[in-house]
């Protein structure tokens, strides 16, 4: 758009900034939000634009020329009923032997560190030995933390498994999750450590949109 100012015989060209020059996301991606849901009664989950699912959807729409969402569906996850059934089973999931426990914790530490510092390495192993020596297996905060570590250790040490088999470590994970349902009014570091140890296997192996992310 040109604006000509009179007087002096000189025309001043001033271009108005256009949306093409300063596009925002709505201009680059004019389609609406993407939601993922197969079953109507269940609230659909919004797929953020940074997600690979959204990128795949846009590609599919461009190739198919279709407006319907055609992104790959990801419904392979551990359901809440499975986790609940594990917790309700008798007898409950026992602590492993001390040797196995140390191996699982060391495996978990080896994979988490150094990018994610979630626990103090030496103190955690020392406390584990103390738990077995003094038979303090029923303190909820301690059991939650170590069961979360056992779950991580099992998952990281497992061989490839068929998709119709439970994810390794699910039992320990279910118990760890059940032990931290009610958050303490006066939290301590062990509660935060436990929550983060629970998040790791949940996000990587058990669900595409885990409630533990929220």
């Amino acid at each position: 758009m040109l604006h000509c100012q009179g007087g002096g015989g000189k025309a001043h060209r001033r271009e108005e900034p256009t949306r093409a020059m300063h596009p925002n996301l709505d201009d680059l991606i004019p389609d609406g939000q993407i939601f993922q849901s197969e079953i109507d009664p269940i609230l659909p989950i919004r797929i953020g634009e940074t997600a690979c699912t959204a990128f795949a959807t846009r590609i599919c729409r461009s190739l198919n020329g279709s407006e319907r969402p055609t992104h790959p569906l990801q419904w392979h996850y551990v359901e809440e009923s499975t986790l609940t059934a594990i917790i309700n089973m008798k007898p409950e999931t026992p602590w492993p032997s001390l040797a196995q426990a140390r191996l699982l914790v060391k495996t978990a530490i080896g994979h988490m560190n150094p990018a994610f510092h979630l626990i103090l390495k030496k103190d955690t192993l020392d406390l584990l030995s103390s738990v077995y020596q003094k038979a303090k297996f029923n303190i909820p905060s301690i059991k939650c933390k170590y069961f979360a570590l056992f779950a991580l250790g099992q998952v990281y040490s497992a061989l490839p498994y068929p998709t119709n088999q439970p994810v390794p470590g699910t039992a320990y994970f279910a118990w760890a999750l059940s032990l931290i349902q009610i958050l303490p009014e006066r939290p301590s570091m062990i509660h935060i450590e436990s929550l983060l140890c629970i998040v790791c296997p949940s996000l990587q192996f058990l669900s595409p949109f885990p409630p533990s992310l929220t």
Partner: protein, 161 residues
């Protein structure tokens, strides 16, 4: 993870220890590194899922992890340089989510914002310590490879739009 972040905020992990701070160096360093682990998870999973970050960079007032040299500290902590590099990648991830994928109208053109992010990525690569750079002459450690894979994932998010 949201619960972990909220508990961390209630304990003031996003602030440097002041007042009744513990004289225990390891305890203080544990608080710092735990907070930054929360930050890294928040930013990475925000980029993966498209959810906004749960805590702003402006609300973080704690320094980076320190290099602790005593033997007892080495038994408790891992190499601080890797976590610092991960923190910087997480920051890039957060900036990418906000500046390129955010619906809020940002200053500057899209290409300018993208260019700034690419410059920051190049700076990250150049500022890496030597032991964290990928080597073609000798085997790379698993953690170094994972670090660079994370970086490539964030780079991909910049380019795919």
């Amino acid at each position: 993870m949201g619960n972990a972040l909220r508990l961390g905020l209630s304990l003031g992990l996003n602030h440097s220890s002041v007042g009744n701070e513990s004289s225990d160096v390891a305890a203080r360093e544990h608080r710092v590194r735990l907070w930054w682990s929360i930050y890294i998870m928040d930013r990475f999973w925000g980029l993966k899922s498209g959810f906004p970050a749960q805590v702003s960079d402006e609300d973080i007032h704690v320094g980076f992890p320190n290099a602790l040299v005593s033997e007892s500290h080495r038994e408790q902590f891992s190499d601080h340089a890797i976590q610092i590099a991960s923190i910087e990648i997480a920051r890039l991830a957060g900036n990418t989510t906000r500046e390129l994928y955010g619906r809020k109208k940002a200053g500057g053109s899209f290409l300018q914002r993208e260019q700034k992010l690419l410059i920051r990525q190049r700076n990250w690569m150049e500022s890496l310590p030597d032991h964290l750079k990928l080597s073609s002459d000798k085997p790379n450690s698993r953690h170094t490879v994972i670090l660079h894979l994370q970086f490539n994932y964030v780079s991909h998010a910049v380019f795919k739009l």
